[in-house]
């Protein structure tokens, strides 16, 4: 009986299945089949034998090999350091910007500012890197010209290992803070204006209104964004770092993703590179899954 209704439903709903099919095929081919490819992480992989060829299974040897490399620990530290700083500033700066923007009364000025600060988000890191390499150059870069004019010594932001990580964090915040503030600005505009009026009648000044009305009004979205950003602890930003890194700053700037790229596609060490990639995916998966779980449990957040 049950089977019959399933069949009948299938027959009635087949156009819907048909619509899902093309997209489903694409993700099966380009997302699910590569997942089977992680078997390379457990093999002494020799590309000449081919993917389905008789590769030798070596268990966790690739992982042991990677862990024995002195660079691994450095890379892990760099990754977490850069990523964590980006997470913290990437939350604080957009919120602060949205709060200040919210105090502006001229709508036109507000819109003009928004138009300008959202824009860098839509430029690729290749373009950004081209611009930054010029701007930050110790010989002719605008930033160093300003430093020199103020009587300082030029700083080699992209070539000095002491400066490289903070340069990554600051330029990333600079590129993205505007766009990241959109969600907070949207949350603030949905706060009931009556609350501000009531607070004003009770004698609250601007600062107290911000503290007692605006901040509680966006509290949920702030907590939600914080929880969700935890999944990025191993994402130091491949696009940015790859385009700005150079061998001089590997000690403080090399991250997991650039290491995987160099190991795998430049040195053709497919096994160890896949092992590192798998490690990163698994850790990220656990972090994202648990933050989604928390977000769902506490804030009834669902992606679908």
């Amino acid at each position: 009986m049950k089977k019959k209704t399933t069949l009948r439903r299938l027959k009635r709903e087949y156009p819907l299945h048909l619509m899902v099919l093309p997209a489903l095929l694409m993700i099966i081919i380009f997302n699910y089949i590569p997942m089977a490819g992680v078997k390379i992480a457990f093999e002494k992989f020799i590309p000449a034998k081919g993917f389905w060829g008789a590769q030798r299974f070596i268990g966790l040897d690739n992982f042991r090999f990677v862990l024995s490399l002195p660079t691994t620990r450095i890379v892990l530290r760099n990754t977490v350091l850069i990523a964590a700083s980006k997470i913290i500033l990437g939350l604080a700066v957009p919120i602060l910007f949205a709060l200040l923007l919210n105090e502006l009364r001229s709508l036109r000025y507000r819109r003009a500012l928004q138009t300008i600060v959202y824009f860098p988000n839509f430029l690729s890191w290749v373009i950004m890197a081209g611009i930054l390499m010029d701007m930050l150059s110790p010989q002719y870069g605008l930033v160093n010209e300003v430093i020199k004019a103020c009587g300082g010594k030029p700083i080699f932001f992209l070539g000095d290992p002491r400066w490289f990580p903070s340069t990554m964090v600051i330029t990333d915040v600079w590129k993205n803070f505007g766009f990241k503030s959109v969600i907070y600005i949207a949350a603030m505009t949905s706060i009931d204006p009556g609350l501000y009026e009531a607070a004003a009648i009770d004698g609250a000044g601007k600062l107290r209104q911000t503290w007692h009305v605006t901040l509680p009004g966006i509290r949920m979205i702030v907590i939600l964004m914080t929880v969700l950003s935890l999944g990025d602890v191993l994402n130091a930003g491949f696009d940015q770092v790859f385009n700005l890194i150079n061998p001089r700053v590997y000690d403080t700037g090399d991250i997991i993703d650039t290491l995987v790229y160099r190991m795998g596609l430049i040195d053709a060490q497919f096994g160890p590179a896949t092992a590192v990639g798998l490690f990163k995916s698994l850790v990220s998966f656990v972090l994202i899954a648990s933050s989604y779980f928390v977000a769902n449990k506490w804030f009834a957040y669902r992606i679908f």
Partner: protein, 294 residues
């Protein structure tokens, strides 16, 4: 409303501080534009900051004659057109059934999970590269448009918008005998234009800006899209073939390398700047769900 002196002071501070912030966002772009338009000597003497000195279009006219640059730009344009078309068709088609309640579409949850999982897990760089290479897609346009054909994030955006469309419209159409394809085409798509515009613009900008796939999936310089091409000649560590550097040395005599680099950057961001006003108009309305009037 009366305002205290402290509030007025804060207001002045706030206006100038935010103005400065926006200015800092703008400076790098202005600087690049100014360098691209300035003459060799002022650039070498470091006299150019925000405004071009001895304006000329030499750098741009040099680029105009650079075949490699335009071939790469053509690959990019082709990729944007083909890639965005594929993205849109797949996303719109798939978002429609997934926006249905499970009661109206069996296995909806199963399908949804299959898509969501790809946001959380992936095979990683090496296996994906081997797949694309194994399918014989290297050095073809398909290696640039197929692997990312379904952007699940954009699909979720679309499907959430579809959910906001009143069910009465669909019921009425069903009673009139319309099938699902017809309902999608004649009701959902016209109602969801802001969402479609948003996703389309995101997809166009995404394809235009993508650079990494071009680098790993292309062996020949001719198949490089613009951003990958710029990556290798401007910021990349990999040395290009000698031909390129000979060409570069040839122009050192009359042209400034910085001006040419800046001109390339400006041209590469031009399409994004052109769609940006539309993008900005739509991304807020598009993302805000359920704005459809009854």
């Amino acid at each position: 409303m009366r305002r205290t002196r402290a509030e007025k002071l804060f207001n002045v501070f706030n206006i100038s501080f935010l103005g400065l912030t926006a200015f800092i966002c703008l400076v790098p772009l202005l600087n690049t534009l100014a360098i691209s338009l300035s003459d060799t000597l002022p650039v070498n003497r470091n006299q150019v900051t925000l405004w071009p000195v001895e304006i000329n279009l030499k750098a741009y006219s040099f680029l105009l004659n650079n075949d490699r640059f335009w071939r790469a730009a053509l690959v990019s344009i082709y990729r944007v057109l083909l890639g965005s078309l594929i993205n849109m068709v797949l996303i719109v088609l798939c978002a429609y059934p997934l926006s249905k309640e499970p009661g109206k579409f069996q296995f909806r949850s199963l399908y949804s999970w299959l898509f969501v999982v790809t946001m959380l897990l992936n095979g990683g760089l090496i296996p994906t590269f081997m797949l694309v290479s194994g399918l014989g897609l290297l050095d073809t346009i398909w290696s640039l448009v197929l692997p990312g054909a379904v952007n699940v994030f954009n699909m979720v955006l679309m499907l959430n918008f579809f959910r906001g469309i009143p069910a009465e419209l669909e019921e009425a159409a069903t009673i009139d005998g319309a099938g699902h394809f017809r309902i999608l085409w004649q009701i959902y798509i016209p109602c969801a234009l802001p969402a479609i515009a948003t996703v389309l613009l995101l997809s166009v900008v995404g394809h235009w800006n993508a650079w990494f796939d071009g680098i790993i999936y292309s062996n020949k310089l001719e198949s490089y899209p613009l951003q990958s091409y710029l990556q290798t000649i401007i910021v990349g560590l990999q040395m290009m073939n000698n031909e390129m550097s000979v060409e570069r040395y040839a122009l050192f005599s009359q042209l400034n390398e910085r001006s040419i680099r800046s001109a390339q950057i400006i041209i590469a961001m031009l399409p994004v700047a052109m769609v940006y006003p539309f993008l900005q108009r739509y991304f807020v309305t598009g993302i805000v769900v359920g704005s459809v009037k009854q």
